[in-house]
């Protein structure tokens, strides 16, 4: 894809993200409450039954409120609520509200076949009856018609949208800066610096390299980051003519990994050395996979083990077995529960976000470095916002605090 087109794609994406926001205004107004037909009845009957669509949802929900004279409120035990299609038609009992409560949230079913189904954009009438302490019922108060509707846009999520758009903007900005040749500094990461050395060591010893992608799916961010690193490692390995073993847990991950390694070998000019037997499927039962990989470790004795991706309980089994065979181990995961085990049992560990960043480090690709810089900016802005929020709270500037809360 050419740069121009890529930028165009970004613009289109932003427009598309924003687009749903536009018609929302009309829809929003449509959903406004309609004036109720008020029916005044002798005292104990409720008055002013109002129905209002609940905003920011897919419809099928209506908030009902009514008034009741204060002097009567103690003598009324509860209110009964009914819903019907016409003011003089049949009403279906919905439930009741307790003493002193004059609102009711009617949540209908979204499923058409359900008896409780509540169609959107359909006129409904509501009937409220007050029940006195002695059990006598008031005349019904009927309000309507009211409608529920689905909205095209969830207004409560606007801040998130703003954040995402802003972040996208930073990404584009820094990617462009990087492409124009601006040098971006990145601090060294020990785990990444060790990659070359670790591959070199395996070559010297004439032993294979084991690369474990974890037990995530091909769409876990950690696995995606790991694919990029695998590509770099595979290229180096092909250049050095060392063996690479990639046992996989998930068949889709395996398919992708095969493509990644194959093209890395091609780039290194050694397509003939690649075989699908290097990147293979073990099984997708967690511990059977571990048993299999353990077996590979103690029998093929790799000099270097990479564990990069999504890991669960197996992390420590792998890392300890790897340690017992004396391999250099480089690990990285975004699973917070497993990071401690890698830190303890491996030589180098990429913690959380460092794993995502690693692909940029290895590639030195301006695109990836640019997005790294954007992430830093994102962090910076968040930190400032959080600091402002906390300070505002501390000094009791509630207005500012609320503002920050809304922004976040």
């Amino acid at each position: 894809m050419e740069t121009k087109w890529r930028l165009a794609a970004i613009v289109i994406a932003l427009v598309m993200i924003l687009a749903p926001a536009l018609p929302a205004q009309d829809e929003g107004e449509m959903a406004d409450s309609m004036p109720a037909e008020i029916q005044m009845e002798p005292p104990p009957a409720p008055e002013l039954v109002l129905g209002e669509d609940v905003p920011n949802d897919g419809g099928h929900k209506l908030k009902l409120t009514w008034g009741y004279p204060a002097e009567w409120s103690d003598s009324v035990a509860r209110f009964l609520i009914f819903r019907g299609d016409a003011p003089d038609g049949e009403f279906k009992s919905l439930g009741e509200a307790a003493r002193g409560v004059t609102t009711y949230l009617d949540i209908g079913s979204k499923i058409k076949d359900n008896s409780d189904y509540m169609a959107n954009d359909h006129d409904f009438y509501y009937k409220v009856i007050a029940v006195a302490n002695n059990g006598t019922e008031s005349e019904p108060a009927i309000g309507g018609p009211f409608q529920t509707s689905g909205q095209w846009f969830h207004w409560g999520k606007v801040p998130v949208l703003v954040g995402v758009v802003l972040f996208g903007f930073f990404t584009v900005l820094f990617i462009n800066a990087a492409r124009k040749g601006k040098e971006l500094f990145v601090r060294p990461l020990a785990g990444i610096e060790a990659v070359d050395e670790a591959i070199g060591r395996a070559t010297e010893m004439g032993k294979p390299i084991l690369y474990v992608l974890g037990i995530g799916t091909a769409a876990d961010i950690a696995t995606i980051a790991s694919f990029t690193i695998l590509g770099r490692v595979a290229k180096k390995v092909a250049e050095y003519q060392t063996d690479l073993i990639v046992p996989c847990y998930e068949p889709i991950v395996m398919s992708v990994a095969q493509d990644v390694v194959k093209s890395a070998y091609m780039e290194a000019g050694r397509p003939d050395q690649y075989s699908d037997d290097q990147v293979f499927f073990v099984t997708n039962a967690q511990f059977a996979y571990v048993a299999g990989v353990n077996g590979i470790m103690v029998r093929d004795l790799p000099a270097t083990n990479f564990y990069l991706g999504y890991f669960a309980a197996e992390s420590l089994i792998l890392a300890e077995t790897g340690n017992s065979i004396g391999a250099i181990q480089i690990a990285g995961t975004d699973q917070i529960t497993q990071i401690p085990f890698f830190v303890v049992a491996c030589d180098y560990t990429l913690i959380g976000e460092e794993l995502y960043a690693a692909s940029a480090y290895l590639g030195r690709d301006p695109l990836l470095l640019g997005s790294l810089k954007a992430e830093d900016w994102g962090k910076g802005i968040l930190m400032v916002l959080m600091a402002v929020g906390v300070l505002a709270t501390a000094f009791g500037w509630n207005a500012i605090r609320e503002l920050v809360r809304v922004i976040l």
Partner: protein, 283 residues
């Protein structure tokens, strides 16, 4: 190689053997020594919450684990249900784990017998508790139950319409139960926090495995009013309820194993520090 170097480079198989023997011994001799269990704030707050409920109040308990985490989570489920039966609090059970249903049935029956023998209460299905079964896609189910339990569970596990169960009368969604207790072994815990508590704001407490516990401490006080972690948490709960059970029985083994590991760490460090000292002297 002097003794300190040996302490540093001890073959790990000795550690394995020692641990195995210690744990086995502690388990065999578990009836011969008792462990004093110190209760923690996060467990007490759940116990106190249930203790302060009125008889007849309702709790939703979600059993989101399968037989593979049974060892860790079953004890706390048992303790909580026991307390509910004792306090005459009604329990609505649900499971969001595919293989959970059989296990939940069993636990209700078992604790029902316990209540009958120890508290002289006969536990009636549909009256004191009910079990509404399993549905896939936990996130959706949690959201759905926030609207109405009947969206995903029109009928209970035994195919009775929910409206025919006395316990479910007037119970529509989370608003009609006093709290939700989710005993879970996986991402379902996140879903309860994100989709359940954040959306519907019901009081929520979690029972989780020992590994997960540290992940949910950050939610204590905001999203969660209590947290039970692993065997230790379950043993604390058993102590509070006053009915020592499986988790308490496992405590001697736990204590012994922890002591063993601490001991090895200490040995390793003494060896490390001293061997470094002798090397410095020599070099």
């Amino acid at each position: 190689m002097n003794i300190f170097d040996k302490m540093v480079a001890l073959d790990r198989r000795w550690v394995f053997l020692f641990l195995f023997v210690v744990v086995a011994l502690a388990y065999f001799l578990r009836n011969h020594f008792t462990v004093d269990i110190v209760t923690t704030r996060e467990v007490r707050s759940i116990y106190n919450f249930v203790e302060n409920l009125e008889p007849g109040d309702k709790l939703l308990i979600s059993f989101d684990y399968d037989p593979s985490s049974l060892a860790e989570l079953h004890p706390m489920s048992r303790a909580i249900i026991t307390q509910c039966y004792k306090r005459k609090v009604k329990v609505i059970g649900v499971t969001l784990s595919q293989y959970g249903a059989g296990m939940v049935e069993e636990i209700f029956r078992e604790i029902g017998d316990v209540a009958e023998q120890e508290y002289g209460r006969e536990i009636v299905y549909g009256e004191d508790y009910c079990f509404i079964g399993y549905r896939p896609y936990p996130a959706f189910v949690i959201l759905g139950m926030g609207e109405n339990f009947r969206v995903f569970f029109p009928r209970d596990y035994y195919d009775t319409p929910l409206d025919d169960l006395p316990i479910m009368k007037g119970v529509k969604n989370y608003d009609d139960v006093k709290a939700v207790l989710a005993i879970t072994s996986g991402t379902t815990a996140d879903f309860w926090v994100i989709y359940g508590n954040a959306r519907y704001n019901m009081p929520l407490a979690l029972g989780v495995t020992g590994v997960m516990a540290t992940d949910y401490y950050p939610y204590l006080g905001n999203a969660l009013f209590g947290l039970i972690g692993g065997w230790k948490g379950a043993a604390e709960y058993e102590k509070l309820v006053g009915r020592p059970d499986k988790a308490t029985a496992g405590m001697p083994a736990q204590v012994a194993a922890h002591l063993t590991i601490v001991l090895f760490i200490v040995i390793g460090n003494i060896g490390y520090l001293l061997s470094r000292k002798t090397k410095k002297k020599l070099g």
